[in-house]
């Protein structure tokens, strides 16, 4: 009996192994003077069920806009998703009505943001803000919703959950607020949890706690995580697979282990070299020269070319494609094209 259901589940899982499939996503911002910021420019990736996928890149590379595009929360105008498809469990999110999309937000996809200080509404209690989501999506009565909020807060590690529901955001520390945000994002048991730099604003000691909690919760709720960060150190701790983003595009994609042991794109190598390493000398720390170009002024050819150590003539002519090097490694660079 037991075995039978198990094997059935396995088959089912194989069939719908992919949770999120993003195909050729382009999100542009139309600014004054006819400038177009190509914040997300032809991004494709898949996220498997139960997976923790990291999206890394320097500030301005388009990570947040990618995640907001998934939620269809791009400020419009000036922003607009102009092309591509986003399939969550087979449903094309871009073809949903705004009303149906609202049922996806908070219910199928939970989201955590960078600033726990400002991401909670200062004038409502923690309980109110968690219960609100439950009342909206799970049609719970107020009382049940608060009860569930207490349970969720206990789950994310609040010993005094009964009191915390009645407290306001300003009464909690940054780490506690982020825990509350996690409880809120997970309240409706979402299939996907998007965390946009969830630990960047926190103390180093608390960062690890929050990351561990997220992974623990992911297992408990059997969901998947899209973790956005610019810190490759964070990625090493929790991610299964990594997407490296630069100039609105994916430049390298690999399993976490592969990426750390065998980075290919000069940008990835640069990012890895700029992680402070406590064991070796700080002197080794080198960062990539220059900055990410603004999304409305990408150079012709490879977008990383002006900052690249290995730049060749043809890099300035056309943008290389994201090519599969082997089964779990893709890279966008002429160094690896025959």
């Amino acid at each position: 009996m037991q075995e039978k259901t198990d094997s059935k589940q396995e088959i089912g899982q194989k069939k719908t192994d992919v949770l999120l499939q993003v195909e050729g996503l382009k999100t542009y911002f139309y600014m004054e003077q006819d400038k177009v910021a190509k914040a997300v420019d032809d991004v494709s990736f898949t996220l498997k069920k139960g997976e923790t996928l990291a999206l890394v890149g320097e500030s301005g590379s388009g990570k947040s806009i990618t995640s907001l595009s998934l939620m269809r929360l791009i400020p419009s105008p000036p922003g607009k998703i102009i092309e591509g498809s986003i399939k969550l469990d087979g449903t094309d999110l871009l073809s949903l009505s705004e009303k149906d999309m609202r049922k996806v937000r908070g219910n199928d996809i939970g989201m955590i943001f960078q600033e726990p200080m400002t991401s909670l509404n200062p004038v409502y209690t923690i309980g109110n803000q968690i219960a609100e989501t439950l009342m909206k999506h799970k049609k719970l009565k107020k009382k049940e919703a608060y009860k569930r909020a207490v349970e969720l807060l206990k789950l994310v590690g609040f010993a005094r959950a009964e009191q915390i529901v009645h407290e306001y955001p300003h009464q909690l520390s940054g780490g506690m607020r982020q825990r509350a945000m996690i409880a809120m994002a997970l309240s409706c048991d979402p299939k996907l949890l998007i965390a946009d730099e969830p630990t960047t604003a926190l103390d180093v000691t608390i960062q690890t706690q929050i990351l561990d909690l997220m992974v623990e919760m992911k297992e408990k709720f059997e969901s998947s995580i899209l973790l956005i960060t610019h810190d490759l150190g964070v990625v090493a701790e929790v991610a299964d697979r990594v997407l490296v983003m630069y100039g609105g595009q994916i430049v390298e994609e690999a399993t976490a282990y592969e990426l750390y042991t065998n980075p290919q794109h000069p940008y990835t190598v640069g990012l890895l070299n700029s992680i402070p390493n406590l064991e070796s000398d700080v002197e080794r720390l080198e960062s990539i020269k220059g900055t990410v170009p603004p999304a409305h002024r990408f150079p012709k050819g490879c977008r990383f070319a002006p900052r690249c150590k290995h730049v060749m003539d043809k890099c300035y002519e056309a943008n290389p494609d994201l090519l599969e090097k082997d089964s779990n490694h893709k890279v966008r660079c002429y160094l690896y094209e025959e």
């Binding site: 609202r102 049922k103 200062p122």
Partner: protein, 321 residues
């Protein structure tokens, strides 16, 4: 919360004292007294005035005079008017104060009823035709002086269209009950809208700005990411935060309304404190001026007190400090 309110009320008391000192000092600092000016009859010898001054206590030391004035004010005795000989100041004020209260409340009601919804609507439809219209109206409203708006209202709605009375508080004596209420209300319309015009215009702008500002905050993005409807994002999450600064401004509004009432009441021959104040200034009726100043100042203080208390009710961050 209770502690906060109690603390706030305790702070109110020394402020009240300071105000009585200022009101008294201002009246004393003004040139002349009750017995100078027009009343100075050359046929009466100066000694007589001196005797009268002595009898009135005007030759006493200033602190003694203040103390005498304060203790009589505390018992409700505001003195006797000079222009309406023999009538007590309290009596004059009692006859008019409610008219001014009605007028101010009407104007405040106009402000809130128009400014908040229009501000919200403008903000949610930024740069729409409606928004441009509201903005234009706001700038016109702010640029038009009270008296001019009043005269225009009298001319258009009172004289040309004849929709509303433009003078006084009642049409005829002898009305009562519902009839009296409606008649008074009708008399309030023109002065009320005139008095409320400028603040409606400015609050509309405040409301719009605040909503737009709050809309950009992180917690609004969170609310949207939770899948809440536009309605709850706007009315639950945005509005309450946007109203916070407005509450403080409303506390100051009491003062603006009362000083605006002075002009408006004059234009509409509306028998309120403002009109009494103007005639008292013209006639150097110091006891009345002092009493009205005192009332104005106390009203402003109470307005601020109420705003602070209300703010604490709405904003949890205040309560626990």
């Amino acid at each position: 919360m209770h502690k906060y309110i109690i603390r706030r009320i305790l702070q109110f008391i020394p402020m009240l004292f300071l105000i009585t000192i200022v009101v008294f000092a201002l009246a004393k600092a003004a040139p002349g007294d009750v017995l100078s000016g027009e009343r100075l009859d050359p046929n009466i010898p100066a000694e007589v005035y001196d005797m009268r001054r002595e009898a009135l206590g005007l030759n006493d030391h200033i602190t003694v005079q203040y103390w005498n004035w304060l203790s009589s004010v505390a018992t409700g005795d505001l003195g006797t008017s000079m222009q309406y000989t023999g009538r007590s100041v309290a009596e004059l004020i009692n006859a008019r104060v409610m008219n001014t209260v009605y007028l101010s409340l009407f104007a405040l009601g106009v402000t809130l009823a128009f400014a908040i919804p229009i501000g919200i609507y403008s903000a949610t439809r930024k740069y729409s035709l409606f928004d441009y219209g509201a903005t234009t109206f706001a700038f016109l409203g702010l640029a038009t002086p009270n008296f001019f708006a009043g005269l225009l209202a009298i001319y258009v709605f009172g004289f040309m269209l004849g929709w509303f009375p433009s003078q006084g508080t009642v049409s005829t004596v002898g009305l009562s009950g519902m009839e009296l209420f409606l008649d008074k209300l009708k008399h309030l319309v023109l002065p009320g809208f005139t008095l409320g015009l400028a603040s409606t215009a400015s609050y509309m702008r405040y409301m719009r700005t605040e909503i737009l500002e709050v809309k950009g905050s992180d917690f609004i993005r969170t609310a949207k990411a939770k899948g809440l409807s536009n309605h709850s994002v706007l009315y639950k999450h945005t509005l309450r935060n946007a109203l916070l600064p407005i509450i403080t401004l409303l506390g100051l509004e009491f003062g603006t309304l009362l000083s605006g009432a002075i002009i408006t009441e004059r234009v509409f021959s509306y028998p309120g404190l403002g009109q009494l104040f103007l005639t008292s200034v013209q006639n150097r009726d110091y006891p009345v001026i002092m009493a009205i100043n005192l009332i104005l100042a106390i009203t402003i203080l109470i307005g601020n007190l109420l705003a602070d208390i209300f703010y604490a009710v709405v904003d949890p961050r205040i309560r626990y400090d």
